[in-house]
Symmetry: D2
Subunit: 362 residues, 4 copies
């Protein structure tokens, strides 16, 4: 297996011109595309439709190459979007291709993809979702040909959040949802899928979990999960990335834990980890191909002893503040604002902390 990593620019959520260009000039083979992970310029909330628009637009384009209807494209290729390009964050997508290749001398970037079944609204944010995601992660591990869970550095999961429509649906059937507030369902939705990753990778014992633990027992977490939730989804998509001895190519992945949203040292540490190098020095950032991180508000809003106003701001959601901050700090290290920074870290690292994964060329 050889995993290809290609960034495309997007002038708006419906702009497919850069992907088209890279397909036309032979850089990207559309038949090899297995996934896209990207940022769109919506508000990142329950009424952010830029994600659905981007999926539809790119599916329309790819359908012409794959001879598929847009819906069929979206079933074949995993689209993972995070809305919200606050601060300097730049709307873009990272396109992942997978093709046959001989194993390289050392471990190289590998990926596996798996989906859960469609979840009912009343299953969102519950142990049913945790177990469904854990099962999908195990499938993805096998597909990536990774034996040692410690070689996994990044598991992106996107699952459904509750919408007014899905809440009404559940209520009409007498079913109970975790919350009747659409925007308030995100912690449960993101938390349950993160715990699914933690269970599958052995970071958390399933026996320690229950419905009540979700979005509550924050000492239970995964250090490599990066999960989002969107109203346009009904099932969970799992994209697992690690280094495999059976993979080819010249890319490697690594990760680190951000102590807070201004932790530039962790950005350097993740680059070094991906490059397989020890020490404290800053590596050249030229070899960085892509970065995927989570942004989180500091616990109680207190950042290194100073009060921030993220958590009490009724105009701008705290995730938007946090993404703006971390996106700028990462860009100050690498110079590239086309990075994936999404909000909400329930059960992803310790409260206030967050995962960052980096893919480098070796």
């Amino acid at each position: 297996m050889r995993v290809g990593v290609h960034k495309i620019k997007m002038g708006n959520p419906g702009d497919v011109s850069d992907l088209k260009r890279q397909i036309e000039d032979g850089t990207i083979n559309p038949h090899d595309i297995v996934a896209l992970i990207g940022k769109t310029e919506g508000n990142g909330g329950a009424n952010d439709f830029t994600r659905g628009f981007a999926t539809q637009s790119l599916s329309l384009l790819l359908g012409t190459y794959l001879d598929l209807a847009p819906d069929a494209v979206a079933k074949r290729i995993a689209f993972v979007w995070s809305g919200g390009t606050e601060g300097v964050l730049s709307p873009h997508a990272t396109v992942f291709t997978r093709s046959e290749a001989e194993p390289a001398a050392g471990k190289r970037l590998a990926m596996g993809i798996a989906l859960t079944r469609d979840l009912l609204p009343e299953e969102v944010g519950t142990m049913v979702e945790v177990r469904a995601v854990a099962e999908a992660v195990r499938h993805a591990l096998m597909e990536a040909e990774i034996d040692d869970p410690r070689d996994v550095h990044y598991v992106q999961v996107k699952g459904p959040l509750l919408t007014p429509a899905s809440i009404a649906d559940a209520t009409s059937r007498g079913a109970k949802v975790v919350t009747s507030d659409p925007n308030g369902s995100k912690p449960y939705a993101r938390g349950a899928t993160a715990l699914g990753v933690a269970v599958a990778l052995g970071e958390v014992d399933e026996a320690a979990l229950s419905d009540e633990a979700i979005a509550k027992r924050m000492d239970l977490y995964s250090s490599v999960a990066n999960t989002s939730a969107g109203g346009e989804l009904r099932n969970c998509e799992v994209l697992l990335f690690g280094n495999s001895p059976k993979a080819g190519g010249d890319l490697r992945i690594g990760h680190a834990v951000l102590k807070d949203v201004v932790d530039s040292h962790a950005v350097h540490a993740a680059i070094r980890n991906a490059a397989g190098e020890d020490g404290d020095g800053d590596l050249s950032v030229d070899r960085v191909k892509a970065i995927f991180a989570k942004a989180e508000a500091p616990v109680g809003g207190m950042l290194r002893g100073s009060r921030t106003t993220m958590l009490s701001d009724a105009d701008i959601h705290y995730e938007r503040h946090a993404r703006a901050a971390l996106g700028a700090v990462i860009t100050s290290v690498t110079g590239d604002a086309k990075i994936f920074v999404s909000g909400g870290t329930e059960h992803q690292c310790m409260p206030g902390e967050a995962p960052i994964a980096v893919i480098v060329q070796v």
Copy 2:
């Protein structure tokens, strides 16, 4: 002259407890206070009343020590607030005191303060304001006992913006204002005061200016001006900071130019400049006492080749995006989120660039 620099935390715009504590424990002598420069947690727009609330609250407290009514306190002490604590920025104020002292061996931090007369709404954003500010800057230079304009590193100016009431007032008198959009008046208001600084310091020739050049001829600028505009003001307040051979104490000021809102190198450069050291190395950040910077959107929204969405966002003003980004990058260097970052750089450095000033202990 010896200038003292003291940071106070604010739990909300009406919280005066930290200033009270520092007065009570003898750290700050209320009779020596000449100015406060701070950040409040409003939206930074025409309907941001956190600035006026903070001034009233602190004036009420200081009035008890100075035996003055709140209004009289606000006339005696210069209050400069910038609303908007996006990202990690922390609400706080830097309190400046001035007392008698013998000159030190080398140049030390000095400051001068001057006010313009009240401006009519129709004068805001015009050459009348440019000239009034230039005159005030010249007064402040003398008061600071600085002979060489190159020793000036930071000139904070706060002046009026147009409000619905002031526009109505002008209109009722048949007078013409630069724009009938209150929020749209900020570029003119900030630009005119910055050009006043530039004229006084010899950065721009007054003969090159006219009403039409304001907020238009962006090649004319000051590299040390940092200007804001608020609906609560009628006149302009000028606070000039530099290093004077006649000043005592152990503080020095320096500055640099931020190429963009992720320019962490300029943060280091400004610290070195303040410390009077050459070279490229990063100095210890422990000696940093205070930072005052401007945040600006990149020209055309393009940051180092990547499209940002600051300028097309109708939900969150671009200044808020820019402050969130720069505030996080500076904090990633120094670890302290209590920094003064304000938005809008019309005629303050080249378009897209912005000034940053640092006070260090030597």
Copy 3:
């Protein structure tokens, strides 16, 4: 008792000029002022400081007449503010005075005021708060000299919501708060105080209540409670209004239930109820002195069969949408935008419905 009702305009949250004018011209006797109920132009959320600014500003002015420090004024006079002047709503305050008078021929407007003790953060939104408010309401009834609870038409209660600081305080003491989300604490805070009114007026049996019922058992409610929560408060203030046979003057109060935020018929019904008239006709609106209403999103976001987007909007809180709508509809009936419309109706009428009270001159 004779209750006076005076509206003052506010040009901003710190503007006291209209109150000063009405005091100076003899319209309002500052010594008779017992309460103010008003709208300020903040966002109505946890970081809305316009309420505190308005209280401080008006207290400073009244202190000069009453020879009291601002803090003492705020203890003597009940200030009730609701932030958020969406749509056409106009920032203003209604000033209530109380003076001696002979009883009129029929029942006339009477009011009683009572406070609870300061509540701990962990008591906010619990049965402790319900009981404290119920006790205060009983005191207010006696003070208003109203014997029949059916003569009560409007009970305004303002109590504390949770803030990051108060949550941290409770957590540090090992105490459990109803939610760790400051903005999310409003339903509990408003709901508990509304149930306190319902218990005191016999609308709900206290035995039917428990901590679990608060913000959950929405079939339990008061039809005349109008409650708000603000971070600046620690205790609850109860202002009770009704018609008493012992009151004098020429004012009466009435109420109705708004079926939704476009229910203009209920506005007319409340006016008729206040005037003591039956029938379906529209009365002259000239006699309306003041209106106090609650705005609520329709259940599930569905308004008379059409989907609204209030509940899924991540940019603008649903209370802001609802206030904008109802404020415009009431103004379309009476022509006066200086009305008190606040958001959040937990346990105030049935879900989706809301109370409206009107004071008229007879």
Copy 4:
């Protein structure tokens, strides 16, 4: 000609299910569809992509019936969207069909559609756009078979606004745009197209106009134009509605002028005007088929003597406040929240006033 008017509900901007249902059950013949006018649930600003998403989604559906690619559908059918469903406004579209029919006994609803050529960014908001729109309106009049301009009650025009990309394009060619602020270009874009309508219908003499008059000379206006601007358009689309002696069917259109956003009397007047009835009484609202109105902030923010905060609010654009208010007032009259209310009335009625058009069944 017979014009059909059909409302479709939209559960989100990509939801085409209601249109599909009405096509499948024979209510709407997809081959007869000539235009859609609708509201989407974005923010209505330069970064509102819900309009483009809706067009793409509906085009995909209609393409399956018309055997056309989505792009070709959008060329054949005029899509006019306004973003922003504040308050109670409900996302929906009104679908217009046109088919052959015998003339009725009296004048009946007729419509004409015309497009301008693509405009260059530097032409947006200038006399070039005014003239291009005027020419298109004249074509639409002929197509609608209306001889007397007084029979025209509603002319919807949607044209381009400036985007960061189009501004950069113009700048790179050395061309000058009316403003470099994307959101600030809306007054020019909407104003120029409204003046185009006014010129064509004889409401304004073209000789009185110039580039300088656009968005400035507000005494020059059309009483029936309703114009919007969106970043997704390059040309202007004109949809003209009136009553023609040559039209069949049972629908008529009328209009009135809203004095402000709480003018419920004008809503009744427009219904009466459409029904062809005189007098002051309120007609049954059951016969109302569709309403199209503009919402505007009151001049100087003062509504009937009370200060509103629309114009100074830096969090929520004044158009959003105005739409929320008017949408609720119209719904309070008719009970139906699926109405077209869009913001910005430059050169559409007098400042502060706005047009409202109603289609009724006779």
